[in-house]
């Protein structure tokens, strides 16, 4: 604290907490913020409160998923005494024990049968139209799914070689392949009230991991466009 500036009163911890939660009304915020601008001890207190709130938020969020100290009980242990209240406890426990092993065996057999009969199901490629407009949102695609990229070849009508390259945000190439020019189904006419145009398509398999990528379109090895693609 610089010389000659010491405050006689400070805001309470509760008030700072309410401020951190952004619950204070305007007329309360102004004097508090003015004080905070010049009082280093209150700055420290607020920083501590901010940190505590974040920790508590995370801590309580985690306990919401897995309650602490609550001993995990098998559902059948809770079920048995209710259904067999008159049986001797030792007999009930033994019965329950045997029953549990039988149930576990049955579940294991069922799981094995499912695994053996399992055939990998091919995932359908997700069509992604790569178009960009000024100020538009980033194009997103799901993680791990094969992609069917669709690009606009522009006004070029030459039967050029098209190539697509996908690089990470750091510039590392992760996919490279040919893009095929697909003529419009209607032969360039109107379909559903819209003028159809040729499209470039490329099947990207396997799917990409989470992150931001750049899709570069080359026409006869000359870079034509670059579009951002966010995999989520």
């Amino acid at each position: 604290m610089p010389k000659g500036l010491s405050f006689k009163s400070h805001p309470s911890e509760d008030l700072l907490e309410e401020y951190a939660f952004q619950r204070l009304a305007g007329e309360q915020v102004a004097p508090l913020e003015e004080h905070l601008l010049a009082c280093s001890s209150c700055q420290e207190a607020l920083a501590e409160i901010d940190e505590y709130l974040v920790l508590m938020k995370r801590g309580t969020a985690q306990t919401a998923v897995s309650p602490a100290r609550e001993p995990r009980r098998s559902w059948w242990r809770g079920w048995m005494p209710n259904r067999m209240p008159n049986l001797a406890p030792a007999f009930a426990a033994k019965w329950a024990h045997n029953w549990a092993w039988t149930a576990a065996g049955a579940v294991a057999c069922l799981a094995a049968a499912i695994l053996l009969s399992h055939r990998p199901v091919p995932i359908a490629p997700v069509p992604i139209a790569l178009v960009s407009f000024r100020g538009s949102e980033t194009i997103t695609a799901p993680r791990g799914a094969p992609l069917e990229l669709q690009l606009d070849p522009g006004d070029s009508s030459s039967p050029a070689d098209y190539r697509i390259e996908i690089v990470t945000a750091a510039g590392k190439r992760v996919w490279n392949g040919e893009a095929k020019l697909k003529p419009p189904a209607s032969g360039g006419g109107l379909a559903n009230g819209k003028l159809e145009a040729a499209k470039l398509e490329a099947d990207v398999t396997p799917g990409l991991g989470k992150g931001l990528y750049w899709v570069r379109l080359y026409e006869s090895e000359k870079l034509r466009s670059e579009t951002g693609l966010l995999i989520q």
Partner: protein, 227 residues
């Protein structure tokens, strides 16, 4: 005066009787003198102004905008305040803290608007843009992890109802009144629970720190006896 509600185990802090804040007439009178000195060109006045406000400005800006390019923003803001004082634009010098706050808030608003404009006008995603990594560095990460472990320990020591109260307050950000009403608690019970949890957190933290220091001392002793 000490802060009015320091957490003490077992003792509920008093309810917030403020809305803060007593106008501190001595501090306000000091500002009148400070502004006069800066206007008359005394450099020690500028130094004093810097000492009083620069930490607070940095704190406010960092809290609102993050740590990226923080020092530049602090410098710009301080310069605006200083130049305004030198030009005689501070009409009520005793309200200097309010003036500084207004300037800082304007800088924050201007910065946010600028960022919005930049984002809106970007024609595409420029791969050359460098964005500061908002994540903690490894040391901060480890410290935070340690504190989070302590919080979990505190929460684990509570019973289900107490945990529910804290969850409602910190996670779902329900007000004290709402929680007390829905969970049939008195204000004192609520405040006691909150302050106990916080005190326990501090206690565990201190214990952990003490254990660490003891371990360090033991290591130093064993290292020196080995020579």
């Amino acid at each position: 005066m000490a802060r009015s509600s320091k957490s003490t185990p077992g003792v509920a802090p008093p309810p917030p009787s403020d809305p803060y804040i007593d106008p501190d007439s001595e501090v306000y009178a000091g500002f009148v003198d400070l502004v006069a000195r800066i206007r008359s060109g005394q450099t020690e006045g500028i130094t004093e102004l810097y000492e009083i406000f620069v930490t607070g400005i940095r704190f406010y800006l960092c809290r609102q905008l993050g740590a990226q390019e923080l020092e530049d923003k602090v410098h710009d803001t301080f310069l605006t305040v200083l130049q305004a004082i030198q030009r005689g634009e501070v009409r009520e010098p005793e309200r200097l803290m309010g003036f500084v706050r207004t300037v800082v808030r304007r800088h924050v608003a201007a910065h946010i608007e600028k960022m919005m404009t930049v984002r809106r006008d970007q024609t595409g995603l420029d791969p050359n843009i460098r964005v500061a990594d908002p994540h903690d560095n490894p040391e901060e990460k480890a410290a935070r992890h340690q504190r989070l472990t302590l919080i979990r320990q505190v929460l684990a020591e509570l019973d289900e109802k107490d945990r529910e109260v804290l969850k409602r307050f910190y996670l779902y950000e329900q007000s004290q009144e709402q929680i007390c009403e829905e969970m049939e608690l008195t204000e004192t019970q609520f405040r006691l629970l909150k302050s106990r949890a916080k005190a326990r957190f501090g206690e565990l933290g201190k214990k952990k720190l003490a254990n660490k220091q003891n371990a360090n001392i033991a290591m130093r002793i064993s290292a020196s006896s080995a020579h």
